[in-house]
């Protein structure tokens, strides 16, 4: 604000004498808006000047010109009237002009009028010199702006909405389009083979199908990025990925621009709009438009919408940082080396490489799975074979009739018939290796007619002694060996009744009791008990003979009972041929009685001992003639047997 005034003042001092208005021309002059205090000298000078002017015009005073620069102060020179007159005469028009200017300066209205004329030029001039003008104005403008917005926000909205609305609209449209793209892709792929594969993948991984679709769809690579000068179509900078096969980027850049122009021209598109996407199969070019430059990305695959945001942001950054170079572009692309990092960020890619190479872990896992399956299969086969074998054995097992097999709850229910004599299944289970706990048996009893079982049953029922051999063949139960008479009699009763036995043949079976009887009788009858001469005492050493005799007697008793025989044992006493017949008889009788009594006392009374004395009349044969007498001082035995019913009577 100061400077324009200074300039004005300068003009004033140039056109008038410096000495006349010294206070106005100084650098220390106060602010323009303030009313400067008028110096006294000046005021009186103005009054005097007007007096002079009146006097001169009325002819009272001659007009005397005054030499410029001569006087230092008007007041000092007032006394010098002629000089003043002269001055007046010479400088009247300038004086008037000066007065006029001073009036202008003093009147705020006029001053404002004057300043307004040069204010814009002054502002331009000053803002070109330094930033002080900005610093001075900024607070006021900010405050004004704030107040305006607070007073009526709608005003600001109205102001910026025409500018912002298209951008906002565009952003919304793009995001909705991105959403529809994804949705469409999901729909397209849901029914295809690929879709089915992805569904399987979704099932396998447990991730939502939409996520799988997105994952596969998002595989892309930005192969090339072009920064193109919008006006000329010239390539400012270009980056390509390693995998890209790039043709001459300069020409491609120009052609891209040409195609943009072509589309815009051909389809009457609004000036603000432009071709944003070119798509051929999985290859596409995304174009982002800036005010001075265009960013084009050649993309293979399906990029996400966020890539567009990246392109947009980088393009905006480039514009921000290189505005000057872009607007004043003269064909020299060297200025744009610095945008390479921006383009590098656009050269994005996302890979989900298909796992063509199977990793060793996968191979191992596969092998493990195969091994597991193989082992499982082998186990299953073994299992099946075991059960098959078990059933085969069970069917072949005598005494079992398997009628049904059921499996439920991991258990196997066996039903059928079982001979009570059949063994349990544990040998079979052991043999086949089947867990007994898995088996639940339900058997109804029955008689198995298998020869083995008939024989078994026969043994069970007949309980033969070890000396008996039983065989069964074609309905005939045969007995061999020997058996006590009583057993044979019992067997005769039972054998024919045993199920499966049609005929009982014991022709090969000897009656052991019958066979023993003669031997026992012979042993008894050969026994000679020797007595002392004339006495009823046994000769010393005969106790053992007596003991043996007693044993034989017991056997005889047993056999007779077994064979149902009535037995009678004649006990005959003897004497030697010395002595008289009268004494010999009684002696022989006494000897017989004594032995008979003794034997009866041994519990053998059932043998019907009949004691008799024969004296010397029934001589006993001796091993040698010398022993004849000794052998006749003895007791001998004779056994007679008869079947009970023949004997009729009861033992003595």
């Amino acid at each position: 604000m100061n400077d324009p005034l200074d300039d004005n003042d300068q003009e004033i001092t140039d056109s008038a004498s410096e000495s006349e208005v010294p206070s106005v021309s100084g650098e220390e002059q106060p602010e323009a808006g303030e009313q400067p205090a008028r110096p006294r000298g000046q005021e009186s000078a103005a009054q005097l000047e007007s007096l002079f002017a009146e006097a001169v015009s009325s002819g009272e005073l001659p007009q005397i010109p005054t030499g410029p620069g001569e006087d230092q102060s008007l007041a000092v020179n007032l006394a010098n009237a002629p000089l003043n007159d002269l001055r007046w005469l010479l400088l009247a028009p300038e004086q008037e002009q000066l007065a006029e200017i001073k009036r202008g300066l003093d009147d705020p209205g006029e001053l404002a009028q004057r300043i307004s004329g040069v204010l814009p030029e002054a502002l331009i001039l000053r803002s070109g010199q330094d930033d002080r003008l900005v610093a001075a104005l900024a607070p006021t403008i900010e405050a004004t702006f704030k107040e305006t917005v607070e007073a009526d926000p709608q005003y600001l909205v109205d102001l910026i909405s025409p500018v912002m609305a298209p951008s906002i609209r565009k952003a919304i449209v793009e995001s909705i389009r991105g959403m529809f793209d994804s949705f469409n892709r999901a729909l397209e792929t849901s029914l295809s083979w690929r879709g089915i594969r992805w569904r399987l993948e979704s099932l396998r991984t447990g991730r939502p199908f939409a996520e799988i679709v997105m994952m596969h769809n998002l595989v892309y690579q930005v192969e090339q990025v072009f920064l193109i000068h919008k006006e000329t179509g010239l390539l400012l900078q270009h980056l390509e990925s390693e995998a890209a096969v790039a043709k001459d980027a300069d020409m491609v850049s120009s052609m891209l621009t040409a195609i943009q122009d072509f589309v815009r021209d051909s389809f009457s598109i609004d000036a603000g709009e432009a071709l944003e996407t070119m798509q051929v199969g999985e290859f596409g070019v995304w174009v982002e438009q800036g005010s001075a430059a265009v960013l084009a990305a050649a993309i293979r695959g399906n990029p996400p919408q966020t890539l567009r945001t990246t392109l947009r942001e980088e393009l905006d950054l480039i514009h921000l940082e290189h505005r000057k170079q872009l607007t004043s572009f003269d064909g020299d692309t060297a200025h744009f080396e610095t945008v390479r990092p921006n383009l590098q960020r656009c050269l994005a890619s996302q890979f989900t490489p298909e796992k063509r190479k199977t990793s060793p872990v996968t191979i191992l896992a596969l092998l493990a799975i195969i091994a597991c399956f193989g082992y499982g299969g082998w186990l299953y086969l073994q299992h099946q074979l075991r059960w098959t074998r078990f059933y085969d054995l069970l069917r072949a097992e005598p005494g079992y009739v398997l009628t049904s097999v059921d499996e439920a709850g991991g258990k196997v229910f066996l039903e059928g018939f079982r001979d009570p004599l059949a063994g349990d299944l544990s040998p079979l289970l052991n043999d086949t290796g089947i867990d007994p706990d898995r088996i639940v048996e339900h058997w109804l009893p029955y008689y198995a007619l298998h020869p083995k079982f008939i024989l078994h049953r026969a043994r069970h029922r007949l309980n033969p002694p070890d000396t008996v051999q039983l065989t069964f063949d074609k309905g005939v139960l045969r007995a061999g060996g020997s058996a006590p008479h009583r057993w044979i009699a019992a067997a005769d009763q039972i054998a024919g009744l045993i199920p499966g036995v049609e005929l009982w043949d014991r022709r090969g079976l000897a009656d052991s009791d019958h066979e023993q009887l003669p031997d026992v009788i012979a042993a008894i009858e050969q026994t000679v008990l020797l007595f002392e001469v004339k006495l009823t005492d046994l000769v010393p050493g005969q106790e053992t003979v007596l003991a043996e005799l007693t044993q034989h007697m017991r056997s005889l008793l047993e056999l007779s009972q077994n064979l149902d025989l009535d037995v009678s044992v004649a006990v005959t006493g003897h004497t030697d041929d010395t002595g008289s017949e009268r004494t010999n008889y009684p002696l022989s009788r006494q000897r017989a009685d004594q032995i008979a009594t003794m034997l009866r006392a041994q519990g053998l009374q059932w043998l019907n001992f009949v004691a008799a004395g024969a004296g010397a009349e029934q001589p006993v044969s001796s091993p040698s003639p010398e022993l004849a007498r000794a052998y006749n001082r003895s007791v001998t035995f004779a056994v007679s047997v008869s079947s009970r019913n023949q004997m009729g009577g009861s033992p003595q």
Partner: protein, 165 residues
């Protein structure tokens, strides 16, 4: 690297494309001319020891019914006007195009190439015609697509005038 966009305009069949074919590198086929209406070629020349990449926009031939798509001219630093010496109307068309360019793009360096100088005996364009243009300040070169006369020079002079500009 200095890059400049230049355009090549002219009537149909004046031999624009074949004129430069031997002197430029191209990755696009001539089909672009009839489909998109423009085909991009590249020519690198040396001006004062500096390589200058000229991106040559070969613009579809103009006809009486329609001049060229001026959109394609946007941002050009210079242009080549091509006329056919054997067809006088093509020179008139070149003049029309020059007017159109001047109107749309402002004053830019350009060069008039009068083609088919190998068929000079059949020329309808007279030396007087060319002299008149020359006197208006038009740089005029006689060229031959067959022999390749003047083409390299045309690129060089145009590039030089653009860089100096």
């Amino acid at each position: 690297m200095i890059q400049k966009k230049i355009c090549m305009v002219g009537s149909f069949a004046v031999g624009k494309t074949s004129l430069v074919q031997r002197f430029v590198s191209s990755i696009f086929s001539d089909k672009y001319l009839t489909t998109v209406g423009v085909k991009i070629d590249k020519k690198t020349v040396k001006v004062d020891g500096t390589d200058v990449n000229l991106l040559l926009w070969d613009i579809e031939g103009a006809s009486e019914a329609q001049l060229i798509r001026m959109t394609y001219m946007r941002g050009a630093s210079g242009y080549l006007l091509v006329a056919d010496g054997t067809r006088r109307d093509t020179l008139a068309m070149a003049q029309d195009l020059q007017k159109q360019c001047l109107q749309t793009l402002g004053p830019l360096p350009f060069t008039l190439l009068v083609n088919k100088c190998d068929l000079k005996e059949r020329w309808e364009v007279t030396a007087a015609d060319l002299d008149q243009l020359h006197s208006q300040g038009w740089p005029v070169l006689e060229t031959s697509a067959k022999a390749g006369n003047g083409v390299e020079q045309a690129f060089l002079t145009l590039a030089a005038s653009m860089v100096k500009k």
